[in-house]
């Protein structure tokens, strides 16, 4: 049994790149629409909440509300963009489009495919997160350098949520089940994890629970980077995100193996 698990793991450190390049080629054909789509939703939130609520709220944690929110939006858009790329596009490649099936008849393994998909989804997160960052810089709520500092954390956020979504699609019989993950996991996280208001506003017992959620760790890393402040407990946050990623990565491969390679 152990031997057959080893046979589906990534073959080496670079085989996944072929999968990434396949997705990049497909994306290039629709790049403009994709970028506009990535920007539209977070920008609506940023302007709607930022200017609207910002007037009422005033300053938060020593900064303007819109700057506070912009950092949260970078984390959120990294999360949603990796999640949606995996839940819809990767699921289609695994299921209806039979792309994975074609790849599985080549030298690549299931692990190579999953790894390629995860890095691809994380790449899209970097794109989406950076796009919001650039808007924030243009409006004067962050500096160019701060976006550069935030970039590795944006990528890690993408990786975490891509691998969590990978577990969801490995288990979901069809698209219809994704809505549960969206409404019961992702949406509450946006409100609980310090994206739109500081977690210190939550009741004490809630704060402990929130400390376990991946988006909270992302926000705690991305916001200080964007506001050019020191990060508290950076190692802990990075470690927590890495644990989520690695665990989900192996879990999704194990489930996919049962689903696709019986």
């Amino acid at each position: 049994m152990g031997e057959s698990y080893a046979a589906v793991m990534p073959t080496n450190a670079y085989n996944w790149i072929a999968v990434w390049r396949r997705n990049f080629l497909a994306w290039k054909k629709v790049a403009l629409a994709s970028i506009l789509g990535n920007l539209a939703d977070p920008l609506t939130n940023l302007f709607g909440l930022g200017f609207g609520l910002g007037l009422i709220v005033g300053r938060v944690e020593g900064t303007s509300y819109i700057a506070f929110l912009a950092a949260g939006m970078v984390a959120t858009s990294a999360m949603t963009s990796a999640t949606f790329e995996t839940m819809y596009a990767a699921f289609a490649r695994m299921d209806a489009k039979r792309t994975w099936e074609a790849i599985l008849s080549t030298e690549l393994t299931l692990g190579d495919i999953v790894l390629g998909e995860l890095v691809w989804a994380a790449s899209k997160s970097v794109l989406a997160g950076t796009a919001i960052g650039i808007v924030a810089v243009t409006l004067g709520y962050a500096s160019w350098l701060s976006i550069l500092y935030a970039m590795p954390t944006i990528a890690l956020t993408g990786l975490v949520f891509a691998s969590l979504a990978m577990v969801v699609i490995s288990l979901a019989p069809s698209y219809d089940y994704f809505v549960f993950y969206q409404t019961l996991v992702l949406s509450p996280m946006v409100f609980l994890c310090g994206v739109v208001f500081p977690t210190s506003q939550l009741p004490g017992s809630f704060q402990h629970f929130v400390g376990l959620l991946p988006l909270a760790h992302s926000v705690d890393l991305i916001r200080p980077a964007m506001l050019e402040r020191g990060v508290d407990g950076a190692v802990l946050h990075v470690a927590a995100l890495c644990v989520y990623t690695v665990f989900s990565f192996f879990a999704s491969i194990a489930v996919f193996r049962r689903r696709l390679l019986r």
Binding site: R98, E107, R262
Partner: protein, 306 residues
């Protein structure tokens, strides 16, 4: 057969899903350079066997060797020298023909230069020279199938595994695929194909294995199988009362089968059968040499299409 001349070797392979046996104690060998057919109705286990050879399904019991590699343990290594034509097209519809081959070549670790080098010959082989920059979604069914075949050849494989390569194609497109496959066999490639087309099996396969319910019910060269199991002419009789006619021709037939309104009479001397039928009005009589379909139906029973 020594190991180096064997492309595929299955020994006592079993597989069941949810208590249902799909492949039952199956053993066969395919020599290098041979075209071997797995023939059987839908649900006979053909696709399961094809996927097992690629390591995509693990057997419950038995041993599989493909190109001297144990499968599924070293299936990835075996797949480096295998080309696959799946039952359902899984081409990249939004990519061009050229891009499809490029992307697929990368999955075998080929460099862009190496892929560019083999591309013209693959396009020529698939008769798609003028379609290199066309999107796959614009291609006809036959063209898509030929592109899938070209794609399967990108890594210059020794062995081709084809799951129903011509299902769903019109006769013209099908003949073109058959002709291309004969070219590959002439080049020394080994082909394993699954099919439920008797004509395909008879035209292409050096040897074949007839399957029913995951079991091997016959194996051999098509002409030998026909000779062994039928070995005489066939008279097909349409019209009239089949049961009444059966009594009439029984003395001259080796074997008679009734399928719906049609009577199949296996007769060493078909003229004698025709003489018996001469007085009967409203009959249509067709006399022909036996074929693989007769063998298949003889072995599996006329009712298989149910």
């Amino acid at each position: 057969m020594s190991m180096s001349t064997v492309a595929i070797d299955l020994a006592g392979v079993r597989k069941s899903f949810g208590g249902r046996t799909i492949v039952d104690e199956l053993s066969f060998s395919v020599a290098r350079g041979e075209c071997f057919g797995l023939l059987g109705p839908n649900g006979a286990g053909k696709s399961t066997i094809a996927r097992m050879l690629l390591g995509m399904i693990s057997p419950d019991a038995g041993k599989i060797m493909v190109l001297n590699e144990p499968v599924p343990a070293r299936a990835r290594v075996a797949r480096m020298r295998i080309g696959v034509v799946p039952q359902f097209d899984n081409l990249e519809l939004e990519f061009t023909v050229r891009e499809n081959l490029l992307v697929f070549g990368r999955y075998f670790g080929m460099s862009a230069r190496k892929i560019e080098a083999v591309l013209p010959s693959l396009l020529e082989f698939a008769r798609l020279e003028t379609k290199a920059d066309a999107r796959v979604s614009e291609l006809s069914g036959g063209m898509k199938r030929r592109l899938t075949l070209a794609r399967a050849l990108i890594n210059d494989p020794h062995l081709l595994v084809m799951d129903e390569p011509t299902t769903g194609l019109d006769p013209h497109a099908r003949h073109l695929i058959w002709e291309r496959l004969r070219v590959l066999l002439a080049r020394g490639k080994t082909i394993l194909l699954t099919t439920h087309f008797m004509e395909e099996a008879e035209r292409l396969c050096d040897r074949l294995c007839v399957l029913e319910g995951g079991r091997k019910i016959a194996e051999g060269k098509p002409d030998v199988l026909i000779d062994e199991h039928i070995g005489c002419n066939v008279v097909e009789i349409y019209g009239g009362d089949p049961h009444q006619l059966r009594e009439l021709i029984r003395p001259h037939a080796r074997h008679i089968e009734v399928s719906g309104e049609t009577l199949f009479c296996y007769a060493p001397y078909p003229e004698q059968v025709r003489v018996q039928l001469r007085g009967q009005a409203g009959l249509r009589v067709l006399q022909r040499p036996p074929n693989l379909e007769d063998v298949f139906l003889r072995l599996t029973g006329r009712e298989m299409e149910k």
